[in-house]
């Protein structure tokens, strides 16, 4: 919310104590349910780049948004909204591609200020997911987050372990729904 006192007279009195900067290290966790994962083989005719391009074009033409995209030597993997999986599978099959999919997944994201300047987050995440019995299907990282694609049924346990490892209160956990966000 906008601070209504902004631009007030210079003699404005001081308000309550303000927190200026974000905490160092991990300060939040988000959980996104209803995520699917697809691994598409790029072995076949044409160059590797052409095959990758074909995967991206096929999905783009079918209006399927993808994320957590990773390039492997013989495959491309990515996540997608679970509701889009059937359509994605169908267009990929029509394009003659072979794939493996999984739909009952969730993304647990660990949020930190300047993540790429913080060392040791990956091992803590890895230990927490191991303790939660969660299998990692994919990862992604950005300047402020590490995203882990895990089984949805292990998501609550994973969040609990991550809160323990990073000394976070359960109330800093945000739940997101990709299908609703996409609308």
């Amino acid at each position: 919310m906008r601070d209504e006192t902004r631009g007030a007279s210079v003699s404005a009195s001081q308000g309550p104590k303000v927190r200026f900067e974000r905490e160092r290290g991990v300060y939040s966790i988000s959980l996104t349910r209803d995520v699917a994962h697809m691994v598409v083989s790029i072995i076949g005719e044409g160059t590797r780049s052409e095959r990758i391009m074909q995967v991206f074009h096929t999905l783009a033409n079918a209006q399927v948004p993808i994320f957590l995209v990773k390039l492997h030597r013989t495959a491309v993997s990515f996540a997608l909204v679970a509701a889009d999986l059937t359509r994605a599978e169908s267009v990929m099959k029509m394009a003659g591609m072979s794939m493996r999919t999984r739909s009952d997944l969730a993304i647990v994201a660990v949020i930190a200020a300047s993540m790429r300047a913080v060392s040791g987050v990956m091992v803590d995440i890895s230990d927490a997911l191991y303790a939660a019995g969660a299998h990692l299907y994919g990862t992604g990282d950005s300047h402020d987050s590490v995203l882990c694609l895990i089984e949805e049924e292990r998501a609550d346990a994973a969040v609990q372990q991550l809160c323990l490892v990073f000394h976070l209160d359960r109330k800093v956990v945000r739940e997101r729904n990709l299908t609703e966000a996409a609308r």
């Binding site: 902004r6 303000v18 991206f56 390039l71 495959a75 990862t139």
Partner: protein
């Protein structure tokens, strides 16, 4: 009167002509009815006589073998802004503006005691406010604060805020003073769609969201420091990026009143520094997660941050900054991960030892340690983990808010690069951006081509 925080970077105060132009902006703000609070960086960039890097060298040159204490290093680094602040306050005075120079401590900026990378804990604005009431224009040292004066151990020691510290000072002061806005003055006329050194026809954005500018800053553009953008975002302080050297309107950064087409668009193309991409082949998919965890643990112990982590059933890949690569390589070369079998395997082996091996010439520790394992080979399976390296990569990023809900951006980026024979080693994506790891030698071409494609009209 409303308070307006105006921050001037090093190139805006590095010579009398530039200082006169900067002073003009302050006087214009006064004429427009604002009470300006000025924040300045040290004069000039590396090599300039009073630049922070130059001052640090004075200390380091006393004995290059002995690192200066962090507390004393911060005192030295803070001198650059103190000189600049005094010079700029006096410049304003000579132009008839009642100005007063303040150190970070005098401005009430209290930080934690992490020297070299302190965080702003509190700002006590009463002194600045009383000076403004008396008609002064306070000129505050950027990049610095002090620890709590009553702190038993550090007792009001001078601290510095780390990279981008002056932007952080400006944003935090804007919040503490409930300012009308914060103006960041630099040598470009706003937030650009690409680095103008690489893309001369890069455009200036008239408006940006906080999220976009924070992402642009994190992905390598040097326009506003991400910490400053985050403070402004968290407290909803309007921010402008403007040029000291022109009257161009600059870029407005705000959350409110942003049109829908700004919330879902491509904002710009950025690039980061040098990166090395490491790939490790791990023989057994069942053991890969265990080996992977030990790699993470080793990197964490040496404080090597890793990113762009990718794995397949039998491989793990990740990137490290170029300057940390020798540490990462030395740690991994010859590293052994022992895994005990719950039952002996078909050959009767009780355990598997994974030993990391880079290519010839980079495998000194491996070549020493591998022969030592021969004694246990009758009971233990010894498996090499071959490591390969792609040196001299960089990350080129397309900042695109809402791309996860608009299909096709990855296809467009990949196609643009591949059609021009630019290798893409890996990709990464976040809510706000799509990044590609490309050879550093191709960065100019990659940024230009993507800019041409995405800003075609």
């Amino acid at each position: 009167m409303t308070i307006l925080v105006q921050k001037f970077g090093g190139t805006s105060v590095d010579c009398p002509e530039h200082r006169a132009l900067a002073a003009r902006k302050v006087i214009q703000a006064r004429v427009a009815g604002h009470s300006p609070v000025v924040v300045v960086s040290a004069i000039g960039r590396a090599g300039a006589p009073y630049a922070t890097d130059t001052l640090v060298t004075v200390l380091q040159n006393i004995d290059p073998q002995v690192a200066p204490a962090p507390r004393e290093m911060d005192m030295m680094m803070a001198c650059g802004e103190i000189i600049s602040t005094v010079v700029f306050a006096h410049t304003l005075q000579t132009l008839g503006c009642k100005a007063i120079a303040l150190s970070g401590g005098q401005a009430g900026i209290i930080t934690d005691p992490k020297f070299g990378d302190a965080r702003v804990l509190e700002i006590r604005p009463h002194y600045i406010l009383s000076l403004i009431e008396q008609g002064y224009t306070p000129v505050v040292c950027g990049f610095q604060g002090i620890t709590e004066p009553t702190d038993e151990y550090e007792h009001g020691a001078i601290t510095t805020l780390g990279r981008g510290g002056s932007d952080t000072t400006a944003s935090a002061l804007g919040v503490a003073l409930k300012a009308h806005g914060v103006e960041i003055y630099t040598d470009v006329d706003g937030v650009k769609t690409a680095d103008p050194d690489l893309v001369p026809k890069a455009r200036t954005l008239s408006v940006c969201t906080y999220e976009e500018v924070a992402e642009i800053a994190h992905q390598g553009a040097k326009v506003v420091h991400p910490r400053a953008a985050e403070i402004a975002m968290d407290h909803n302080i309007p921010l402008w990026v403007k040029s000291t050297f022109s009257d161009a309107p600059g870029t407005r950064i705000a959350a409110d009143d942003i049109p829908e087409d700004v919330r879902h668009r491509v904002t710009g193309i950025t690039h980061t520094g040098r990166i090395v991409y490491i790939r490790l082949e791990i023989d057994d998919p069942a053991h890969r997660p265990i080996v992977e965890r030990e790699v993470y643990r080793m990197m964490a112990r040496a404080e090597v941050s890793i990113y762009l982590v990718t794995f397949s059933p039998t491989a793990l890949s990740f990137a490290v900054p170029r300057d940390l690569f020798p540490i990462a390589r030395d740690l991994l070369d010859g590293m052994i991960v022992p895994i005990r079998h719950s039952v002996p395997d078909v050959d009767g082996k009780l355990a598997t030892f994974y030993i990391f091996k880079f290519s010839e010439g980079l495998d000194l520790a491996y070549s020493v340690q591998r022969p030592l394992l021969r004694n246990v080979e009758s009971q233990v399976r010894i498996v090499d983990v071959p490591g390969s390296i792609i040196e001299n990569c960089t990350m080129v990023s397309v900042i695109a808010s809402g791309h996860r809900h608009s299909p096709g951006i990855m296809a467009l980026i990949y196609e643009t690069l591949m059609d021009n024979s630019i290798d893409v080693y890996q990709t990464a994506d976040s809510e706000m951006s799509v990044s590609c790891l490309v050879p550093v030698s191709e960065v100019k071409r990659a940024v230009s081509l993507l800019h041409d494609r995405l800003f075609a009209d």
